[in-house]
């Protein structure tokens, strides 16, 4: 019997990374079409070149690993595929930004791509108000793909060799099974997304039209803002973000869509297949609602104390809008970044920071700790206290309701605590590094929470002039936050181990 050398194991992984890269290359055809329609010759030529180059790279990887494509991957290798595809994919997707001159440097381009793919929504792009339609389409395509997941997208095209699908699916920070098969699950996720894309684009187009845009601009802006809202991304076509539209109707529609987007795909699936009562019973929606109520009262107190907004409408459109935008990890803004710092006051900013860290639902497009984990941790504390009051010999099983009744098992508790701790560590390190570059604490904490939770609200730290090291730190933090740590650690371990064994 021949024992396989460890270096051989990389081939099947390259094959699957190749598939994902090819899919990313094909995605660049979307902005290519848009830029051709709007006769943006230069932008079209760039997208043609980068799309075919990306596809070429993907095909190369597929060809290298082709012979080994039906090799079974281990769990760790599956997650390494996901993390590796994200790393390579980010660099390839940054090419259009870089060559079109939309970003000043390659690192800036990578920052913007990572921000889009992780649905963060911080941007370093230059002169956004004169941006071509093609590049804007590319930003939103990245957000929309990243929200559902690029691995999830690639899996939908996988017809054969599906035995490795689940391992890669898990590597991208989603573990909910809508169907027993990960490929069917991936297809269902995309079906749900496309279903909402059609509804959302129509609604947002009308909202943008009523805000005063011409029909064709209303359609593009409506579609882009919708794509960003659903993915809880936060990119908007203009530098003023949502403030640009000056319309409460437009803001309301956006809120509805990003709240829907922050819900668990399993919940969507349950509701769309007729189990509406699931919304009321689900531990995630309950956790989200309770934490939102607590935080909104904090924000209210903070804003009232500083007398920031003159009336209730203004408070709703500024205070609550940003809180919900933060907690769903969307990052749409209707104020200027610096206004947070100069006007909001510490209490409101701390509440915002907490909201951004808590985040939306697991297995959604949202980031942060995720409501499921908060719910699990809270329930764990509750049951531990309950256990103290019961006779020692009594054994009780505690359950939570998430899609179905689940036992509050030790492994569930452990993974919840582990991931939340990892988020907290990342947040703390990010805050510290930001502090080291001389930003004040509230700013550092706010921006760091925004980056860790893939939110995208900015208090003014993120700009092209920020130090290079900070840009790289934020890129890594966004990546860690989106893939939920484990797959990236697996990738790092894989690279180190592969290097050592030689």
């Amino acid at each position: 019997m021949v024992i396989e050398k460890p270096v051989k194991r990389i081939y099947p992984m390259l094959y699957f990374i190749g598939i994902i890269i090819v899919v990313l290359g094909c995605l660049q055809l979307v902005p290519l079409v848009v830029s051709l329609i709007y006769k943006e010759r230069f932008i079209s030529s760039i997208f043609l070149a980068t799309a075919s180059f990306t596809i070429l790279v993907g095909e190369g990887l597929m060809a290298i690993g082709y012979r080994y494509r039906s090799t079974k991957l281990s769990f760790g290798e599956g997650t390494v595929v996901a993390a590796g595809a994200w790393l390579l994919g980010t660099m390839l997707c940054a090419l259009p930004y870089y060559f079109s001159g939309s970003c000043l440097s390659f690192i800036d381009s990578c920052f913007d791509v990572m921000s889009g793919l992780t649905t963060t929504g911080l941007c370093l792009i230059q002169d956004m108000d004169h941006l071509s339609n093609g590049i804007n389409m590319w930003r939103q395509t990245l957000t929309f793909t990243g929200g559902q997941g690029m691995v999830v997208l690639a899996l939908t095209f996988l017809t054969k060799d599906q035995s490795n699908a689940y391992k890669m699916y898990v590597g991208e920070g989603k573990d909910e099974k809508l169907f027993p098969n990960a490929v069917s699950t991936a297809r269902q996720i995309w079906k749900i997304s496309i279903f909402y894309l059609i509804i959302g684009t129509v609604v947002m187009t009308f909202a943008a039209r009523s805000a005063g845009l011409a029909w064709d601009r209303a359609f593009l802006h409506g579609m882009w803002v919708y794509m960003s809202a659903w993915s809880t991304g936060g990119f908007a076509p203009m530098s003023q973000n949502i403030l640009y539209y000056h319309s409460s109707l437009f803001e309301l529609c956006a809120v509805v869509f990003f709240v829907i987007g922050s819900l668990n795909f399993a919940l969507h699936h349950a509701v769309l297949s007729g189990r509406v009562s699931e919304i009321r019973k689900n531990i995630e929606t309950i956790t989200f609602t309770i934490s939102f109520i607590i935080l909104s009262s904090l924000v209210t107190v903070g804003l009232m104390k500083n007398n920031v907004y003159p009336d209730l409408l203004a408070f709703l459109r500024k205070g609550l809008f940003h809180l919900i935008s933060g907690q769903t990890t969307t990052g749409f803004m209707t104020v200027y970044a610096k206004q947070f710092y100069y006007e909001w006051g510490d209490i409101a900013l701390v509440a915002m920071t907490i909201a951004m860290l808590l985040g939306g639902s697991a297995c959604s497009t949202a980031g942060g700790f995720k409501a499921l984990r908060i719910g699990v941790i809270f329930e764990t504390f509750k049951t531990e206290v309950k256990k103290l009051l019961l006779p020692e010999s009594r054994i009780v099983e505690y359950r939570i309701h998430h899609i179905k009744e689940m036992i509050l098992s030790d492994s569930l508790i452990r993974s919840s605590f582990l991931i939340v701790t990892a988020y907290l560590v990342t947040f703390t390190v990010g805050t510290l590094i930001t502090l080291l570059f001389g930003y004040p604490l509230t700013m550092a904490a706010f921006e760091s929470a925004s980056v860790t939770g893939n939110v995208g609200l900015s208090i003014g730290v993120t700009s092209t002039s920020m130090p290079l090291l900070l840009k790289i730190t934020y890129i890594i933090m966004m990546w860690l936050g989106r893939l939920e740590f484990m797959s990236i650690f697996a990738l790092i371990a894989f690279i180190l181990k592969g290097g050592l064994k030689k």
């Binding site: 769990f75 898990v170 027993p180």
Partner: protein, 137 residues
Amino acid sequence: MFLIIAGCTQVGALLVKKFVDTGHNVVVIDRDKGNFDYLETGCNCLMIHGMPIDEDVLKEAGIERADALIAVTAEDNMNIMISQIAKHLYHVPHVMMQANHPERQAVLSAKGLHMICPIALTADHFYTSLLQKENSI
């Protein structure tokens, strides 16, 4: 196809692997958690730990939308019961089961259940292949 396999026995595990590799939705139910070790790690299917004749378990496995069910637990009576539940209560289009006693064939066929007996199959296979060899000599 949406398929439920009751019993993660060696036969069950092999079935799961075959169907998963060809891209079907497979749910496998077993009352013994240890039996899931027969499956590969990170199997692209849904594993449900529970009694396969429990209606709640079957519902969790999605029997209401299942296209097929195969009962391959170690016990004949259990398999019969699962098949009957699936066929008569949930009207699953294709129900198949394994039974170890060949003599049950007649009764089960009369009840409309599709039964496969490994013992009978093995015996038949030996018999025919030996006869073929003898003929060719």
